[in-house]
Structure formats: C-alpha cells, structure tokens
Symmetry: C2
C-alpha cells in the first residue's frame, strides 16, 4: 500500500479523496483542511486534521488548493524531504518548498461539486524534480486512472492552455448560445443534443474532419445574415472565429 | 400512414431516410436523387428516382439539399399545391416555389456520414406558411423525434446562429486544442475526456454555473503566461474570449 495524504478541501481535493478511498492500492492517511466541516466525504474523524503539526510522514503529499495558496501551504508542511506534489496546470513546480522533493500531479479534467467523475478516464500528467520519484507519483496516479503520462513543465503549460480552449472557452460559447436563445424566447434545452453530438463526434473524427458550418463553406450570405442579429460582443467573436476557421490550414 | 417523399442524398437526407424507414407512422414513398448510387440505404429500387416527373403526390415533400440548391429544386417539382418543406436553418421559407404550400422542417443537429443519430432526441423546428399545414408537418416530425416545436423565421435564424456558436465554433476550439497539443508533442486524445465532461456538465448546470478558468477567476498572471505560448491567431481568440467571459453579466 502506498501512503498518501491530501491537503485541501476544494473540488479537486474532494474528488481525489473519493477516488483514493475506493482504490485498493492506496492508503489515504490524512486529509488536512482549514475547516473540518468543509469536507463532505466518508473518512474517519481522526483522518481529517487542520493542524500541520499533526501531519505524518507519507509516500506522497498532494496539495490540492488554489494556485495562489500552493507555495504557502507547501512551506507549512513541517516534515523534511517529503515527496510533495501540487495539482495545478499553471503553477511552476519550483514554487513548492525547497525542503521537499517536488512534483506535480495534474488531473486534466473539470471537476464539479457533487457531480461524480470516473477517475479511470481522467488523464493525469506527472512531473517530478528527481527522476526516481516519478515511479511513486505514477504509481499513485495509476491506482486511480488508466491514463497516466509523464510531462515536462512546458508541456503541462501547453495542456493547460489547450484545456482553457476546449473547456472554459467552449463553455462560454454554450453561454452565448444560451443568451441567443433567451433573447429570442427559445429554451436553451433545444441546443443540448447538438452540444452533446458535437463533443461525441470528436471521438470518431478529427476536429478538421468534423468542421462544418457557414465559415467552413465560405457561405458569406449566411455569415452576413447571422451578423445582423448579434450584439457587439457576440458579433466580434463570430467574426474572429469565422475568420480563424477560414484561414486555418 | 402519412406519405412522405424526400429530395436529396446528403447527410441530412440519408439520416431522414433511415429515421422514416424505421417509423411505423410514415410511408416513405420516394427518394429523388441526382445519382442513384449516391444513396446508401435499404430502399426498394423503384423508390429511388432521379426524374422529377416520376414524383407522386404525397402529404409532405422534404427537400434536404444544400442551401443554394433549394429554390431550384423546389421549382422543379412539377406537382401543384403540394406541401413542400426544406430543412435549412438559414434559407427563407419564401424561397420555396409559389405553386406549393411552403414549410420548413429544421432538424437541429450535426449529421455525420456513417455515424448513426438517435433521431428521437433531435429537436425539429417546424414552420409553415399556412397554420393548417402545421399539424401535418408536426405529425411527420413527431413520428421520428420526441422534441418537435413550432418556430417563426426569426427564431429559426436565431437558433441557427446559436448552433454555429455551440457546434461549429466549439469544434474550432477543439481544433485549436489539437493544434496546441501537436505543437508540444502531446496526443490530442489527452483532451477528449475533458471535452466530453465539459459537454456533459451542461446537462446539470447552466453555462453560467459551469464557467471556470483563469478568465472567470480574473487570474491575470495565468492569462499573461498563457498568451506567451500562443501564436497570432490563437492569441487573438484567447484575448477576445477572455474579455468576453470577464465582461459577461
């Protein structure tokens, strides 16, 4: 059994606690949170702590807190020479404390409070300061996910940017779709099968093969007619994405 | 049994042929195509025709051809006073021939050659020139879909624009994600679980509730660091969508 402790109580921390609790290969030793009540999961009372000095030595600490808090949280772990990973896509591994063996444990997924995630299909990017630590972090990741891969800092940053496009920005396009529906007395539900199928297509086609629409067809008449009914911000996004589709190689 | 004939052999036509063939309430009378070989489905040989003068009178003709060809195709139907619908999100109903009772049968979905679609969940927007024809078109739509709704031309146009955002533009964001992966020697497959979950979240959360990421958090440090590794076109899209998320009410 590999001994793991988690620091944090946000979405990522909660989902990791659930996943590790279910794994036969991992002993989840402690979860450190600021307020005990903030952790909604099945753990023995003495496993949940809020005092850093109660932390026991383990094989891997996972810090799952907001980007801004990572450095401070890491510095507060009193134990020396521990293997400590953060879960952020954008924070440099180097910001972890020098007294520890630094690592990154980056689950590439969007976590929603209360919505269970099948961790087996969540890709986990692993980065370690020392090569010999990679085996431990990969073993922990492999205990909950079928998709574990080593990456370097530059690749992790690229993945995080790519995730912003396919997740955060895509969700904003859903928002614009919902706004347009609302502006024309249509229920947003009408768009949901299309949203689902657009994502599903990507499993069997490349994005290039899946691309359709007036921009792809260079159908200027439809493009002009669409621009007529959009407001300023919607219009700017429509124009820019249309141009990007048309000039994409 | 309601008698329906289809004109066209593209993706929409093919998917409609499959759906009507399975429906107990619809008799698919004829399918008119330019070249017989272009229709890959199970129909009796004499049901597939390519001469407009062989067309029989039916309860509803559905013209499923490219936007540009709709008017010409409609004009070629020699029968008078027939109920004729096109399937386009953007073409005016009025472009159909004046000798017919005009209608629109707009399935709001993205159709891929060879990828079956469960038509039961495809919303179909129905528009008719004469109110009394609405019942027939809705009955035909209802025979293959559980989501049939009457819309007016302005709503159909709005739906089409919304569909461009949540389907065509979303797919282009997948393309940019794939490009970034390729530029950093990462397989695009890594992003697929995230793409799937982003679409799945929309079933249980509003887009506003589901919005996350550096733009939403006003995390300027991460935004700046992301912009550094993007090329010109990617950078423009990143900046505009970030600003749009930040200023969205």
């Amino acid at each position: 059994m590999i001994r793991v402790s988690i620091i944090g109580s946000g979405n990522v921390a909660q989902h990791l606690v659930s996943a590790f609790t279910k794994s036969a290969d991992i002993e989840l030793v402690q979860v450190l949170v600021r307020r005990k009540a903030s952790l909604s999961c099945e753990l023995a009372d003495n496993q949940i702590i809020s005092d850093y000095h109660q932390l026991q030595a383990v094989d891997l600490f996972i810090i799952a807190v907001t980007d801004q808090a990572i450095a401070e949280v890491a510095a507060q772990i009193p134990l020396q020479e521990q293997l400590v990973a953060h879960t952020s896509g954008s924070v440099a591994m180097n910001l972890l404390a020098d007294k520890h063996r630094k690592a990154v444990f980056y689950p590439l997924q969007t976590f929603t409070k209360g919505k269970p995630v099948d961790f087996k299909s969540v890709p986990i990017g692993v980065e370690t300061q020392r090569q010999k630590d990679a085996a431990i972090v990969k073993k922990v990741a492999g205990a909950i996910s079928n998709q574990v891969f080593e990456i370097n800092s530059e690749q992790r940053k690229a993945l995080h940017v790519a995730a912003v496009f396919v997740c955060n920005f895509t969700n904003h396009l859903y928002q614009i779709g919902a706004d347009i529906c609302e502006q024309h007395q249509l229920p947003f539900d009408i768009l949901k099968p299309l949203i689902e199928e657009t994502a599903a297509k990507i499993k069997v086609l490349t994005p290039s093969q899946a691309q359709t629409g007036p921009a792809k067809r260079n159908d200027q008449q439809t493009i002009d007619s669409h621009l007529e009914i959009l407001d300023g911000s919607q219009k700017a996004i429509y124009s820019l994405l249309t141009k990007s589709i048309q000039t994409h190689e």
